[in-house]
């Protein structure tokens, strides 16, 4: 081997080693968090944890069933409100948004994307909680939806833009009106990406605490009324982790583990959908 080839070989090895070390460092944080949660939280996971509501402070036992159900309700409502609006906005941006209005919508979405989530919570409080004079699951869902919309709009736009122009032309040349081309060909082709984007967006907001502080408020009792204050896992963690009781800390760890697991499951489903995208027929 010539000197030059040897030098290249060695440089290649060093660089490869370096990036391996760096990627391990990056992933390490995730494993530390997950490991810590499992060590501190897993022991508290039992049947009661998932089925019982909290007991008065100081007593032991009880669970976070109210928070798990509440998370489902708030995030579900947020998805019902946010996904159609976000995906619709994204479709508009990609298909028709080349003009001034498109530019404006895109700009606002980007600003909204960078807005601290607590500000969104205050917005929810100002526009929903104060006029209706009550904290509610709906208010929390709206706040989460507002967080979700710009995210979904931009991912949907990216996904729709990935659809090859030739497919659009093929549909138009077959005599498809433009709106039908957008809906039947473009949206259908981008569907996998849009679903993935939506799931990632849902997973993102499922862990939010700040926007819910002034809107959903939290509730120590089991409640499924969407016009009443409601508990979510994130709020539960916030209250329990900052509280003075050992029992609360224990439950906070377990709640954190459950929340993490929930987000993980949604992400895995998103991954699975993405993989299905290419083999899909009809």
């Amino acid at each position: 081997m010539s000197t030059r080839a040897l030098r290249r070989h060695i440089t290649s090895r060093i660089m490869t080693g370096l990036v391996i070390v760096l990627s391990f460092t990056a992933v390490l944080a995730l494993f530390l968090i997950l490991g810590n949660l499992i060590i501190k939280g897993a022991s508290s996971l039992d049947w009661a944890f998932f089925t019982k509501s909290p007991v008065p402070a100081g007593q032991s036992g009880g669970g976070v069933a109210n928070a798990i159900v509440g998370t489902g309700i708030v995030v579900g409502l947020a998805a019902i409100i946010g996904v159609p609006l976000g995906v619709g906005a994204g479709m508009y941006l990609a298909e028709y948004g080349s003009g001034r209005l498109g530019w404006l919508v895109r700009f606002i979405a980007d600003v909204l994307n960078g807005t601290p989530s607590i500000v969104i919570g205050i917005v929810g409080w100002t526009f929903i909680v104060r006029p209706t004079s009550r904290f509610s699951a709906v208010a929390g869902a709206v706040a989460l939806a507002i967080l979700m919309i710009p995210m979904l709009a931009r991912t949907t736009e990216e996904m729709v833009r990935l659809v090859p122009h030739s497919l659009r032309e093929a549909a138009l040349a077959l005599g498809y009106p433009r709106w039908r081309t957008s809906l039947k060909i473009v949206a259908r082709t981008a569907l996998g990406g849009i679903v993935t984007g939506s799931l990632v967006g849902i997973a993102r907001v499922a862990g939010e605490t700040a926007p819910l502080l002034f809107t959903a408020l939290g509730n120590l009792n089991f409640s499924v009324h969407i016009t009443q204050p409601i508990q979510t896992l994130s709020l539960q963690i916030y209250v329990y982790a900052t509280g003075p009781f050992e029992e609360w800390h224990r439950l906070a760890w377990a709640s954190a583990l459950v929340l993490m697991g929930l987000v993980l499951i949604i992400s895995l489903v998103a991954r699975w959908v993405t993989r299905q995208r290419y083999g899909r027929i009809r």
Binding site: A170, A171, Y176, I281
Partner: protein, 279 residues
């Protein structure tokens, strides 16, 4: 209508050479499509200058010329694919069966159903082979649901693809080979039973074998369809077409019977191009 009249008149020495031609100037069919002094601009770029030509029925018309000379632009004008291009405008007329394609009575959706198009790269929808072909008839309600399978089969047979995909109709169209995909796109266009089939360099992304199959197919198809094909491949134009138009910097330099245009071009630019002096 201007056809071979644009080229030099056929001399006696050419007669022998033309016996093998399917179409002789004497039995020249009436044009399906006629372009009259058609001009086209992309913004300020004057892309097509006074294009006047008639596309004869049940024949293959090839449009040749160097890149960027307006062949594809003209082709795409015919089914109004420029409608959505920002800054595009035109003057002059294009008539399909005597009616202006730009006229207020012409619906662009109906027009595109009557004029099929096959693109440079195969672009099947990410759906099954069957659905790809059924797409047009389904939309245009051309066939009852129970006739649809027949119609799909007929289109696939016409595109010489049926034998290869008969047992793979439910597989995704994108899983076929490049040449098969292109024939699938041809079948998709034929399923609408168009009056005119536009093909924009349909073989440029294919290997020689697949190209040959498509060329054979074209010759077969012209028995029932009118075909306009843009090609960079002069041999291809010479092999398959009955009429050839030579485009150069946005002008239709010469248009006439293929045999004649290739053997005795009347314009020196045509001659320079077909003899390979530029392009």
């Amino acid at each position: 209508m201007k056809l071979a009249s644009d080229s030099r008149t056929v001399g006696p020495s050419d007669r022998a050479a033309q016996v093998s031609q399917t179409v002789r100037p004497s039995d020249r069919p009436t044009p399906v499509l006629e372009s009259r002094a058609y001009n086209f601009w992309y913004g300020t770029n004057h892309a097509l200058h006074d294009i006047s030509m008639g596309i004869p029925r049940r024949a293959i018309t090839a449009l040749i010329g160097p890149s960027g000379c307006g062949k594809t632009t003209f082709l795409r004008s015919i089914n109004r694919m420029h409608d959505l291009t920002p800054g595009a405008r035109h003057t002059g007329e294009i008539l399909l069966d005597g009616a202006s394609i730009f006229g207020p009575g012409t619906d662009v959706v109906t027009l595109r159903r009557r004029i099929g198009m096959v693109f440079q790269r195969p672009n099947p929808f990410p759906k099954s082979v069957y659905d790809n072909v059924a797409y047009g008839p389904r939309l245009n309600a051309l066939a009852h649901a129970r006739e649809l399978p027949d119609r799909v089969e007929r289109a696939l047979r016409q595109a010489a693809l049926w034998e290869e995909v008969a047992d793979r109709l439910r597989e995704p169209g994108t899983a076929l080979s490049g040449g098969q995909q292109q024939r699938l796109c041809i079948a998709r266009a034929l399923a609408n039973e168009p009056e005119l089939l536009l093909m924009d360099e349909p073989c440029s992304a294919l290997d020689p074998i697949a190209t040959q199959r498509i060329e054979e197919l074209l010759v077969e198809l012209k028995k029932s369809y009118t075909i306009v094909i843009v090609t960079h491949n002069m041999q291809q134009a010479a092999r398959v077409s009955d009429y050839t138009g030579f485009f150069y910097v946005g002008n239709l330099v010469e248009f006439g019977v293929t045999q004649q245009l290739f053997t005795r071009p009347s314009d020196e630019r045509t001659e320079a191009y077909i003899t390979g002096r530029f392009g």
